[in-house]
Each structure stands twice: as C-alpha cells, then as structure tokens.
Subunit: 205 residues, 2 copies
DNA sequence: GTGCAGCTGTGATTTCTGTCACATTGTGAG
DNA sequence: CTCACAATGTGACAGAAATCACAGCTGCAC
C-alpha cells in the first residue's frame, strides 16, 4: 500500500523518517483502537478505512464526535502524544482499517525539522477543533430531529453513498438517544420525502 | 504591569521579541473582544481579568464554552492566526481585562525559534481541547440539574470564591436555558443544602 | 419447513425542559 | 418616601424525548 500518495504534502526527508520509524497496523471492522484512559504511545495516521472517535459515558452511553478517514490523523493522540498523556476518548475501526503508527518520541523532532509535518499537525488541530465546535453547536442548539438530519448528511458525505447501511439502534447509540425515538423521527422524515427506509439501510433522497 | 511574572516559563529571547512586537490592550467588563466571523489579526495572551469564550446561535442563543484567565491564551485565535482564518466563536471580557496581542505574522517564527513558546502553544491546544471535551460530555450525558452544579463549581474554581455574583438570567444564558428553569433548580439545590440563595448572589456550601 | 434472533413500528406513560402569565421582593434614583 | 425596574418565585401548560410493553416482520440456521 503506497501511503505516500495519501499524504502528498509530506516532504522527502519526512517521508524517509516515517518510512524508517513508523509501523503499519491493521484493524478489523469493529475493533477498538484506543479506549478512554489508555496510555498513548503513538500517533495514528489513517491510510485506509474509517475510524470512529467517540466519547463513552460511565454507564455505557456513547456519543459520536467524528470520523477519521484516509489522510487524516487523530488530534487527540497528537496532543496526548506530545505530552505523553492518556486518552480521553474511544477510537473504533468502523471498517477494516490501515493506520501508520508514529512513535511519540519522534513528535518533537518532526515538528522542529519538517515544515510539512508542522503544518499537517496544525491543520489537524484546526479541523478537529472545528469539528468539535460544530458538535457542540448541534447538541446545544438543535433538537433531535435536526441532529438526526445532520448526522445522516455527515455520514453520507463520509461514505460518499446515498444509501446508508445503518440500523436505527446504531444511530441511536451515536446520538446517545434511543431506538424508538430515532425510528419515529425517521418515519417523519420519510413522510417528508427526505429518505426512504429499508431494513438495515436508509436511502437519502 | 509586569507580564513576565504571569508567563514565567518563557525564555529570555522570547520575552525580548514579545516585548518589542506585542501590543498591550485593555478591555472593559462586558466589551466584546472578538465576534463570530471576524478576521483574526493576532493571538491574545491574558494578563489580567477573565475572558468568556462562547458560541452564539443564529437567533440570539448563547452557549458558554470556557473562561480564560491570566496566563492563558485563546487556542482558537492561535489556530486561526496561524492559518489567517476567521473566528468561529465569541469572546467577551467578563471583568476589566488586560491582554497582550501578538501579531499573526510572528506565530510561525516563534514556534520555530522558541521551545518555550512551542510548548506553551501545545499546552494551550491540549487544555482547550480537553475543556471542550468536558463541555461535550456535559451536554451529551447530563441533565440540566447536573450541568448547573458543574457550572457553579467551575465558576467557583475560576473566581476562587464561594460566593458567586450571578443572576439567574446570566446562568440561564450561559447554559442556553431559561431563567425559570434555573430558578427552580437552584431552589431544589437550596433544599438539598448545596447552596444558599441571595439576590444577585449564590453561596456555595 | 420450524424456530430464533435481530430489526422495525406503535401506543401509553412519565420526566424534563421551555414558555407564558403574573405575583412578589429588593434596591437605587430622585 | 415613592416609583420604577430588575431579580426572583410559582403555577399552568406544551412539547420533546426517554422508557416500557408488545407486535409484526425478515432472514438465517438447522
């Protein structure tokens, strides 16, 4: 797998270092990549697949924050990595996923030596921060029906498909809501001709 | 005002540059320092006072994210500054406030040259990100009563006082709720002996 | 086929929150 | 003191969402 195509902005020297020091790892769909409280030893760059970043509640509730796709990196792991701290979030492979693990110890050095790495890190902070902001906006200012629409759109964007293979229960989990509520809201959306419902699949109109 | 005492971790060379290039500004209590959509020309280091960072809704709703006190800096302004982008948030002086404005153009240079600045920036990202995470936790997983308790505690921590000078309306605004709801919840807290209510003032027990 | 497990639909009920309407109380200006 | 205004208390009601209880349906294993 040629990871250099996925990070075309990286400069030659940086590529060399990564080539030498980083480890490529695979995760199966559904596998937990990182849990709350776990010690972070490396920063993950996503090569292929999707990683779901979410928060977990003391009593089992989940709450989706965002997805990471190819070419993206986990801001939390970078921040924690730099300070060698523990994770505050959960990361799970949504599909079969390939990541490049860059050891913590390299971070400072890369930041200093390679402009393209420095910019990549800053860019990552920026976009994850923005994403978190829009998440806050959503739960602070919008009801479940609007949050559901936003969720479906975002999901469609990520997968580039108009048909989402999701059960109502999965959606409810991501939004920290309950299955019945989601079912009812989806029905209403269907009546407004925004979606068509099938078993394990939602078609966006 | 001797700002060097507030940022003791800064190295001599860095202090010199800041001394030369930065501008000190004052804001009166209640003054808006930055609004949504505004172009960012500098990063703000807080010397004195409190700055409230919040999100504003299209129809006037507010939502408090966090406060910045002396020795802290606005992560959003740093991120935006580095990329010369516009702000997504509102910043308001809660008290009379002194800040040190560092021009955008310096950011890259400071990051490269001064380890203590680099670490300060990383530290700022880290703590703001964490703070945002705990905000998300709060609205995602907790009801208004718990959010109110969390809010009061956080406020007490910030001001280091057990008596909070707040009207119910102010609290409701910060939590994007309504005055009546807050009044009732506070009454319940008083019955549980967690607080004592006075006019324009809440005493934590 | 039979049976089972996992989705989905729906009604009834309850809790939480927001909203409206109004009464009451404290405080400062004049 | 009096008036005006801001802050607070409270009841009634409406809507959103969670929860409980079931029923029907689909698809897979055997």
């Amino acid at each position: 797998m040629d990871w250099k195509k996925i990070f075309p902005q990286f400069e030659p020297g940086l590529i060399e270092v990564i080539e030498k020091e980083a480890v490529q790892r695979s995760f199966k769909a559904g596998e937990i990549i990182m849990r709350t409280g776990q010690y972070i030893k490396s920063t993950a760059l996503v090569l292929q697949g999707q990683i779901k970043i979410y928060r977990e509640n003391h009593d089992g509730g989940e709450f989706l924050m965002y997805y990471l796709g190819p070419g993206q990196a986990c801001a939390v792991s970078m921040i924690c990595a730099i300070q060698s701290e523990t994770s505050e979030i959960m990361a799970k492979a949504e599909e079969d996923t390939e990541v490049l693990m860059i050891p913590v110890q390299l971070m400072d050095d890369l930041m200093n030596k390679y402009k393209s790495w420095y910019q990549f890190v800053i860019q990552t902070y920026r976009s994850r921060f923005d994403e978190l902001l829009s998440v806050v906006d959503n739960i602070a200012f919008h009801n479940m029906d609007e949050r559901l629409e936003f969720y479906l759109k975002r999901h469609a964007d990520k997968t580039r498909k108009k048909t989402l293979e999701l059960s109502h229960q999965q959606i409810a989990d991501d939004l920290n809501s309950s299955r019945e509520v989601i079912s009812r809201l989806l029905k209403k959306m269907e009546q407004r001709n925004l979606v068509k419902l099938h078993r394990n699949m939602i078609e966006l109109m």
